[in-house]
Every structure is written in structure tokens, then in C-alpha cells.
Amino acid sequence: MTKFCFNCILFFLMISSLGTVAQSVLELVLPKHLDDVIKLDSSTISNEMEEIFWDDHLAVFVENEAKVYTSNKAIQGEYTKDRNYLIFKPYYPFENGMNYIIRTKSVNSEDYSYQSFLIEKKKKVANAKVINIYPSANRLPENLLRFYIYFNTPMKKGEALKHIALVDAEGNIDQHAFMEFKQELWSGDGKRLTVLFDPGRIKRGVVTNSLLGPALQKDKQYHLSISSTWQDVYGQQLSETLQKKIEVVKAYRTKILVNEWIMEKPEANSRGVLTIHFDRIMDHALIQSMIQLKDRKGNQVAGYWQILEAEQQVQFISEEKWNKGKYQIVIDTRLEDVAGNNLQNLLDHNKTDEGNSDTYQCIDFKI
């Protein structure tokens, strides 16, 4: 104990002389898996600090029902120290569903801080697999902007491009086909990934486009490969490697032209469907939120949209019979086709082209 106090004093003198006082709340790296270690930012713990004091700075307890842990015995394990962290590895792995408490103390403090953690029980999940890829069509334009890949389970993040590849007919992998982001584009539940083609390769007149050319070239065949090496967050690999065929057709080089959409109207007083045939393949995610149907009073019609024909068609299923009279389809002008062109402009429009500045575009019709 005397040794400890002596060290304390030394350390206090040292930091006092620098005119700074280390913060009492230390950064902790908590375990996420049962056999993970616990790391404590050791910037305030002197390198000369003897090993016998390490467990005074970092100790882990099982939290019991009465939340009494100070009188409990600490979990036993191995302590090591590197330049940045004091590291505790328990002799026996942590357990799922057990509440643990970490007790920490910085050198210049007499007080302990407590932080609890829990490693959740793993839920039994179905085998990991890809359930959908959009666009669902195989014939896709040269300037395709993105794929949406849907999984049945949350996937491990940060490694998507290790498992996804664009492969040409000869089996060559295009290493630069997709945009690399520091943070991948995942939905909140971790089950939908958006994979963007490098826009530089798509946009005309951009350097990468000139040097490498477009990733997809008209009249050629490719496939998108999603490897079974990819694991979900529970460590399960995808049940199979999946390959989506792609036949490349002419690029979409015009704004979305609502006038070219073809509409099939239901009969009045019927429960028929309203069908819209698009002039091209639309973005799957955006169709769902950017097209609305309103009645003559401007109220939304109760019902839902159904996406058909590989995102080239939508149908509105009304919950009630159609009334005779006026209706209006309201389209958010940010609605995109699969190449990123919307109702306002082209993805690679000229800076001078201001395009359509309306927020909504409407189609009026009568039944």
C-alpha cells in the first residue's frame, strides 16, 4: 500500500508539474463477444506502475441481484499493458445474458467509476441468405447507378466489397466498379445494403469515366457475385454464393418523362387496380415513397402500391371501390430511375441545365 501511495504522489507531482490533470473518467473498450478482452485507456496509468496495482485500476465483477459488487470477488484473469491500454482477459469467457460491472480508477483519483455491460444472448436466426436484389431485371442500362441487396439477417458491416464483385463474361473482376465508402450504406436494421457504382465511371466527361470507361458496357454480359464467405453479425456465412446475371443495354440519357407513362384506369364502382407502366426501370426503394394517389379533395386514397414487372410497373390496390370523378397521381420529382436520373434532371446534367425545379409533378385523371 505504501508503495502504491508513493507511486500516486510521484505521479501527481509529475502531472502537476505539467499543469494538466488527467480526466477521472477513462475510456473503456467494452467486450462485444464472449471471448473479448476489456481495454482501459491507460494514458493516465504510468508505465512504471507495478503489475500488482493493475487490478485496482481495472476490475470486473458479476453484478448480482442486489447490485452489490464491491464486496464480491472480482473475476480472475490475465492483465497486460500496451502503449495505449491496460487489457484484462478473463481466464474463462464471459457469459451471454449476464450483467457485469467494470470498476475503474485513474491514478490521480481515489474514487472508483463503475460501468456495466451485458453480452446479449444470441438469437437463433435462420441461415443467412440474400432474399432480393434490386433492380430485379437482368437487362440493365449501361449507366446503372446502384444495387440494393436485401438479406434475411443483419450482416457484418465494413467488409461488403470483399464479398461483392462485378465479373465480366471472361471472369475478370472489375476492382473499381463500386464506390468505396468509409461507412457502407446500410439500412437501420442492417439487412439492406446499397451498393453504388462509382459515379465517376458513369458520368460522362469525368476523369475516371475517360480513363477506365463505364463499369458496365453496352451489349456485354456480366454478373454480380455475392460470396458465401460473407458472415452475418452472428457469424453465420451466407448459405450460398449468389450470382445475378446482367445484360447491358443502352444507357438512360433522358430525364424521367411522366408523359410517356401509360396508365390503365379501373372502372368506377369497381375494385379494379390502377396500373402505371413506366418508360423505364425505376429505383425500387424510391418508388415506394415518392408516388401518391389523391382523390378530388386532395386526400390520400386508402390503399397501397405494388411494384411489378421488374420495377417497370406499379399498381395501386385501393381499399375501397373507386368513385366516379377526378383523381390525381402526385409524383415527387426526386423519384429516380435505376441510373439516378429523376424528374428534375439527369444524373450527369450540365451545370448550366437547371432542369425542372418543381417539387411535385402531377397526373390528373378521371374515372
Binding site: V60, A74, I75, Q76, Y92, P93, M98, Y100
Partner: protein
């Protein structure tokens, strides 16, 4: 003591992998120290005995007691789990350091982990690193596989969950029941995969990969039959009638003698039944010195510990079925206890595991009868009952005033 918490499937699964690498420590059960400080630990799942070399351990204090209350909860705390997730399987005192070792199973089902804990002279728990400790392993032959359970022995009512769970325990878990180290050899009681399953193995230590397996038959007084399957629960080697003999205790609770020279590979040994302590299940047996007499202290999960003078086993009458009238013997039918079985001694709670801590004291793993707590406690060898834990006349402060007055009265009169 083995608890019936382990699922059958789980064990079958773990056995299939265990056979691949029997050197690996998978479970730790029965314990035995050699006088040099080699700790033998039975591993039923791997089907092996591991010998941990702890001979370098030294005495750190001249005299100390071991008292760790709620020891299962304390073990759980250092292992990062809850008390319900640990089972203490056996306990042994190191012959040199006098410190206590516990074998523990963490978890249930296929996730079980073996643990060896040292309780040192300061009553601190220390996990022994099974990776770095020097060890050798002897794999055992002819063990039951993991699939075979037990006959569901009924009561009059439909079987209870507890009875079903007991029947589902794989026989494999009874492979190694007790071990006795004697003069460079390790004797192992348990069961084999044969119908005549009660097995007594002997093997030299240091291990050389060889073992001899003999089967043991004995006359069971309380059951009135010759038995060949149920294993010896606990045993010690003693020199009785001029020869080295195994003193062995069975369930319900005969005591038998087996001359060591009859324990040979392939032999069907006929044990000499000399007594019966009465129905119940013996767990552990230790010999100790009580005022110059060597005594055996036999724990039991359903009776008080039995203390018997070793001298009584000399020239003991060996009994057979011819010595008794036919039929099972119950506690109230008058025939048992039979033979030189000494006396049951009062003990607060159930002493499960027992060992000698020092010349005057024993250390016991005790289940408290009232609270259910599992305690590691030191008791006096002469007077192991901890009677002071009960509320009695002697607990009232006024009792001592009266006593003092009485003493003065007597003094004044005289």
C-alpha cells in the same frame, strides 16, 4: 457428487469430439493427491486421468483454517458466472501446502468448462491455469460411451422430473468415481462398458499408457444380492490383517475389503463384505488420527458421517448371503448397521467432501441443512459437529451469570 443437470444429447455431442483428442481437459471430477503433490483428476468426458504436477507448492503458513462460505457463489464470481452455473465436483488438500483444491464444472450441456481452483492459506480463491500447469494424461480403455443412460427406477407414482433426469445421466459420468494413490500406483474405481461394469483399475504413475482392469463382485447386505455393476463410491488402501487391502464403500452402504494382490488385469475379484453402514450413499472417505487411533471418516449424502476405528476392520467376519435371512434390509428391520462400522457422528449439515487439513482438523465441503448454502469449512477432527451453530440454552447470556453464581455457591459451600 454429480448433479443431474447435464443433458444427454449435450454429452453425446461432446464425447464424439473428446475421443479425437483425449489429452484435452474437458471435465474435472474426482481428485487424489500423491504424497509428493501430484494431483490426479478424473475427466469422465475425455475418458482420462490428468496428473497435474503441483509438487513445487510449499507451505505458506504454519497453521491456518479454511472457511469459505457460499463457496459455490464465490467460485462463480471469480469465473464470471452465477452460482447456479457451477458445480463443485471434488475437494482435496495438498499434502505439502495444506491448501485446498476444488474441481469445478462451469456451465451445463455442451458448454461445460473444466475448472481447478486453489483455496490458499489466506482463504483466497485462485484459478489454476490448466494450460501452463505441467501435466501428463492417462487415457482409460473400455469406458461407457455417452449414449447409455440408466434404467428409470420407478417409485409408485409416475416418475418425477428429478427421477427422469437421474435416469438420463450418461453412464460415462460414473467412469471415474474415486482414485487412490498408493506406492507408485493409482487405483481407480468406476464403471466400464461391460455388463459386469463395476471396475477397479490400477496403473503405474508416472503413467506409461498401460492399465489393468478388473471387475469387482460383492455381496450387498441391505439389497441381499451379489452385485457386479454399481461402482465403488469411495476407497482407501490400508494394511489390514498384514496385507495391503482396499477399503471400499458402496451405495446403501456396504463396506468391503479387497486385497491389492488380487487386483489384476481381467480378474473378477470377489470383494470381502465385512459390514454395512445402513442405507444411503457414501461420498468420500478419509483416514485420520484420533487420540492415537486411526479412524475412517465416511461422508454420506443421506446419513450422518460414519466414523469407524480402523482397528475394527482387522479379523472382521467376512459375510455372504448365507449369513442373513433373505430379503432387503431397511433401517428399521434391525439388521443394519452391521459389522465393525463404528458410529455415525453429529455434523451440522451434510458433509459431502472431506479431507485432513492438519493433525487436529478436517476440512469439509458442507451443505448447510437450513440455508442450503455450500460451505468450505474447517471442523475439529475430534468434535466435528459445530454444535455452537445451533441455538441452545448456552446461547443465552444469562446462562453464564447463573453458571458463575452456581460456581461461587459451590466454592462457598466447600
Amino acid at each position: 457428487m454429480i448433479k443431474f443437470k447435464i443433458t444427454v444429447l449435450a454429452l453425446i455431442l461432446s464425447f464424439t469430439t473428446s475421443l479425437v483428442n483425449a489429452q484435452e481437459v474437458k471435465t474435472l471430477g474426482a481428485l487424489e493427491f500423491s504424497p509428493e503433490g501430484v494431483l490426479f483428476a478424473g475427466d469422465n468426458v475425455s475418458g482420462a486421468i490428468h496428473a497435474f504436477d503441483l509438487s513445487a507448492e510449499k507451505k505458506s503458513a504454519d497453521k491456518f483454517e479454511i472457511n469459505v462460505y457460499n463457496v459455490d457463489a464465490q467460485v462463480a464470481a471469480v469465473l464470471g458466472t452465477s452460482a447456479g452455473n457451477v458445480q463443485i465436483n471434488d475437494m482435496a488438500v495438498h499434502p505439502k501446502s495444506g491448501e485446498v483444491y476444488l474441481t469445478v464444472t462451469r456451465g451445463h450441456g455442451i458448454d461445460v468448462l473444466p475448472v481447478l481452483i486453489k483455496v490458499n492459506a489466506e482463504n483466497q480463491l485462485q484459478i489454476v491455469d490448466l494450460v501452463t500447469v505441467k501435466k501428463t494424461t492417462q487415457t482409460l480403455e473400455n469406458l461407457p460411451d455417452g449414449s447409455q443412460g440408466f434404467y428409470l427406477r420407478g417409485t409408485m407414482a409416475p416418475p418425477t422430473i428429478k427421477e427422469i433426469a437421474k435416469s438420463k445421466l450418461p453412464m460415462r459420468m460414473l467412469s471415474i468415481m474415486d482414485m487412490e494413490y498408493y506406492k507408485g500406483e493409482l487405483f481407480v474405481s468406476g464403471i466400464s462398458n461391460e455388463d459386469f461394469s463395476s471396475a477397479l483399475r490400477r496403473m503405474p504413475y508416472p503413467f506409461n499408457g498401460k492399465e489393468s482392469i478388473s471387475n469387482v463382485k460383492m455381496y450387498h447386505i441391505a439389497h441381499d444380492q451379489y452385485e457386479t455393476r454399481a461402482p465403488i463410491r469411495s476407497m482407501l488402501v490400508k494394511n489390514i490383517d498384514g496385507i495391503d487391502q482396499m477399503v471400499a464403500a458402496y451405495t446403501c452402504s456396504p463396506l468391503v475389503l479387497i486385497p491389492l494382490n488380487e487386483i489384476k488385469d481381467g480378474a473378477q475379484v470377489k470383494a470381502r463384505t465385512i459390514g454395512d453402514m445402513g442405507n444411503g450413499q457414501p461420498i468420500d472417505m478419509v483416514s485420520y488420527n484420533l487420540q492415537g487411533n486411526e479412524m475412517l471418516f465416511v461422508t454420506n449424502n443421506s446419513r450422518m458421517p460414519q466414523v469407524m476405528p480402523l482397528a475394527g476392520l482387522s479379523n472382521a467376519k467376512v459375510v455372504t448371503d448365507a449369513d442373513f435371512k433373505r430379503g432387503a434390509k431397511m433401517d428399521l428391520t434391525g439388521e443394519i448397521p452391521y459389522g465393525p462400522m463404528g458410529l455415525p457422528v453429529m455434523f451440522a449439515g451434510s458433509s459431502l467432501q472431506i479431507d485432513v487439513l492438519n493433525e487436529n482438523q478436517l476440512v469439509s465441503l458442507t451443505r448447510d441443512a437450513l440455508t442450503g448454502s455450500l460451505d468450505l469449512e474447517t471442523v475439529m477432527a475430534m468434535f466435528p459437529n459445530k454444535m455452537n451453530l445451533f441455538f441452545a440454552e448456552l446461547d443465552f447470556p444469562a446462562f453464564y451469570k447463573d453458571k458463575k453464581k452456581l460456581k461461587e455457591k459451590i466454592k462457598n459451600k466447600s
